[in-house]
């Protein structure tokens, strides 16, 4: 008997599939993770209650999710934009670090009032991040050097640069610890409460820093550029078929540089926003891989900047909720990571089934044919 697997790309994804898949796959992943919880004598329903319900219904949980989402969304956009042009930016982590370094340098070396200092810090971060992302983009556009490798390797360079700067020229505070000096008040992102009209009355805004506004602005800008402008159209066009785009007179060079420069700037904003908003000083290893988590975020959200935002928020819930489960139930850290990884794995797998119709055909003639037609195959 022959079994034939046939994969047909779907022209359209039915609505029930589009919305049902993520929900069902997350539930399926949690069910698998539940086995491990049961093995550790933890009631999975209780654990998932803490992970999701408590995280999303308590002020503490929501605040933490929004704070965590800022670098995740911004780094997610940094991967999302090149993805639209058919490129993989695996180096968002490095761009984030470069942005954090440049922003920190300004924060601790320039004294200006907050209204001038914060924009200057963010500008410096953008320039540094864009520069770091621009290298793989230029190499790809000009010499066709694989951007996956260059952007990834530049992340390691960025990490070493961080190591060097935090132990050398940028080291601050008492006693040779690998960290920068503490940020002054002027260099610290204020909570949202004071910035948004009526913000004081919104409880969440007391503890969520203004970096959230930066993330929202970046999402809106990305959305507008990608859907309303000629450049955005060219990005999508080059991403779909760069040969056709070339024939239509579009410059691959411009598009590649554009997506990487803007993406790198966004990742950099994520880095400096995290430090100026939540950490208060640049500590070595402040970023637990936001730039790498950005890759599944962008893959899940690749249809639009809004979906990147949703994916970023979802990952923030996973991290914050996962950490709550650890604290509440004393389960090993590895278990929470396994559950998070299962969710990611299931979601990405389900994306495949969403995009392809899988047909399985059982070819019964195989059984009826003489045995040597299939078994004694002489062509080998």
């Amino acid at each position: 008997m022959n079994v034939e697997l046939q994969l047909d790309p779907r022209r359209t994804v039915p609505a029930w599939l589009a919305y049902g898949t993520p929900v069902l796959t997350v539930l399926a992943a949690l069910a698998v993770g539940g086995v491990a919880l049961v093995a550790l004598n933890v009631d999975p329903v209780d654990a998932y209650g803490v992970m999701f319900v408590e995280t999303l219904t308590s002020q503490f949980g929501l605040t933490e999710v929004l704070v965590r989402a800022v670098p995740l969304i911004l780094a997610g956009l940094a991967v999302y934009l090149p993805l639209k042009a058919g490129l993989f930016n695996i180096g968002a982590e490095g761009q984030l670090l470069l942005g954090a370094l440049a922003g920190t340098w300004v924060a601790v070396n320039v004294s200006l009032p907050a209204v001038a200092l914060l924009p200057l810090m963010f500008l410096a971060a953008c320039v540094a991040g864009a520069f770091w992302a621009g290298i793989p983009a230029w190499l790809r556009a000009k010499w066709d050097v694989n951007e996956i490798i260059t952007s990834l390797l530049l992340t390691f360079v960025a990490q070493e640069l961080q190591s060097y700067l935090l132990r050398g020229p940028m080291q601050g505070g008492t006693g040779n610890f690998p960290q920068s000096a503490r940020f002054s008040d002027a260099a610290t992102l204020p909570p949202l409460a004071g910035l948004v009209p009526g913000g004081e009355s919104i409880p969440l805004f007391a503890d969520v820093h203004a970096g959230l506004l930066v993330a929202v602005a970046a999402v809106v800008a990305t959305y507008v550029v990608m859907t309303k402008t000629r450049l955005g159209f060219e990005v999508t066009f080059v991403g779909s078929n760069d040969e056709a785009a070339r024939q239509a007179g579009m410059s691959r060079h411009t598009v590649y540089l554009f997506v990487f420069l803007l993406g790198g700037a966004f990742a950099a904003l994520g880095g400096i926003a995290e430090i100026a908003g939540s950490q208060g000083r640049f500590r070595a290893a402040f970023a637990p891989g936001y730039g790498f988590t950005a890759i599944p975020i962008a893959l899940l959200g690749r249809n639009s900047a809004v979906k990147v935002t949703l994916a970023g928020l979802f990952f923030a819930v996973l991290f914050v909720g996962g950490s709550s489960v650890e604290v509440a139930f004393g389960v090993p850290a590895a278990l929470v990571e396994i559950i998070q990884a299962l969710v990611i794995l299931f979601l990405i797998t389900s994306e495949f089934f969403k995009r392809y119709r899988v047909g399985i055909a059982f070819d019964r003639r195989g059984n009826d044919a003489p045995a040597d037609a299939t078994g004694g195959d002489a062509r080998w």
Binding site: F60, E64, S163, R167, G168, Q171, G172, G173, T174, G175, N176, F177, P178, A181, R182, Q279, G280, R281, R283, A284, A285, F286, A287, P288, V320, S323, S324, E326, V327, A328, G330, P332, A333, A334
Partner: protein
């Protein structure tokens, strides 16, 4: 530099009431062991530990968790919990979550938790915080560490006596005072018995990174080191030395099982001797924020068991010196560039090597 130093040692006796307040207000009812023995005046104490690496690291976090289990076993009135593998950048949330719950005291066991813990301690004045290895305190936040440089000095003597090339390799974590202090103490110990001994240092730039630690150890062995010492939260460097057939000394936890035939001895921690009295004082309502930096006489920093092939001569030498340290007859820093320095300097400002250590502390 930042405003850090001003915060040191500004603690006075005003804390007792705050800790009493928490102990009584929150924890009745939901605990099964309150009816047991032990001091009966106080209520149940709920204590939480936060670790930077997994307790299976067989090193630093493992040692703290052994002590947690020991005190949990020891006191009927104590309930403990822990969270492992918490990055410093994430720790503020974990501290806050514990503080919002019914936890009376939170122990944070890595340097990187200092600022986040301090920030949370400000917001939760009724919760007691204890931070290992840092220098900031406030009325509801104490700090603790042990003078591990004493057993380091002793282990250093052993390395100095067994080395034939007079070259000892040291796989180090970060170039911070805590680590530099240990390297210096070990080198002073080695040179007290072998003036020719020199130390080569490799920085891993991580507390817990077994592959890099292993690589660093191998690189040092290739450069001619015939003894490998380490300050890492894992036994990877010890294992590498054992594989290469050179002498080795570990850190944090007994590492004899990884060092094999060439194992010397390791400076290790018994934190029970700190956690026990601290939790008792909380239970009795007499806790005060202070800076604990106990030496070998407290039982916190100590040595583990000798490896199988160490000569009696080495053992006798180290035993004699240990006796001197316990009797307060020997100052590890005597005769070095750091003789007579204050505890504050030794603890948070030591940032250069003593004679006999190659190279410079990166800065």
């Amino acid at each position: 530099t930042g405003g850090d130093t001003g915060d040191t040692d500004d603690t006075e006796a005003s804390e007792t009431t705050a800790s009493e307040g928490t102990t009584s207000g929150t924890t009745t009812g939901d605990v099964e062991t309150t009816d047991g023995g032990g001091p009966s005046e106080g209520e149940t104490v709920n204590a939480a530990w936060v670790y930077i690496s997994e307790i299976g690291d067989l090193g630093w976090s493992w040692a703290h968790d052994q002590a947690r289990q020991a005190v949990d076993e020891q006191y009927d009135w104590l309930e403990t919990e822990y969270t492992e593998a918490v990055a410093p950048s994430d720790s503020e949330r974990v501290f806050e979550q514990y503080a919002q719950g019914d936890v009376d005291v939170i122990f944070g066991t890595t340097f990187g938790y200092q600022d986040p813990m301090y920030a949370v301690a400000e917001d939760y004045p009724d919760t007691v915080f204890e931070h290992a290895t840092g220098y900031r305190t406030r009325e509801n936040m104490g700090r603790y560490m042990g003078r591990i440089y004493e057993p380091r000095y002793l282990a250093g003597q052993a390395t100095g006596m067994v080395t034939e090339n007079n070259t000892i390799g040291y796989v180090a974590a970060f170039p911070i005072p805590e680590v530099v202090r240990s390297i210096n103490a070990m080198a002073l110990g080695a040179r007290s018995v072998n003036p020719e001994a020199t130390f080569k240092v490799r920085w891993v730039n991580a507390w817990f990174d077994p592959p890099t630690a292993r690589e660093a150890a191998n690189a040092l062995i290739d450069e001619g080191c015939d003894v490998i010492a380490q300050e890492q939260d894992s036994p990877a460097a010890v294992r590498a030395a054992s594989d290469a057939g050179v002498w080795t000394s570990g850190y944090n936890a007994p590492m004899g099982q990884f060092g094999g035939e060439n194992y010397l001895i390791s400076p290790i921690w018994d934190w029970t001797e700190f956690y026990g009295p601290t939790l008792e004082s909380l239970h009795e309502g007499s806790w005060e924020a202070d800076a604990f930096w106990g030496g070998m006489e407290t039982g916190v920093p100590m040595l583990d068991e000798w490896g199988p092939n160490v000569s009696q001569e080495v053992k006798d030498q180290v035993a004699a010196t240990e006796e001197q340290i316990l009797n307060d007859e020997l100052d590890v820093w005597a005769g070095s560039a750091f003789e007579g320095e204050s505890d504050e300097f030794l603890f948070q400002e030591m940032s250069s090597f003593v004679e006999g250590v190659e190279g410079e502390v990166p800065s």
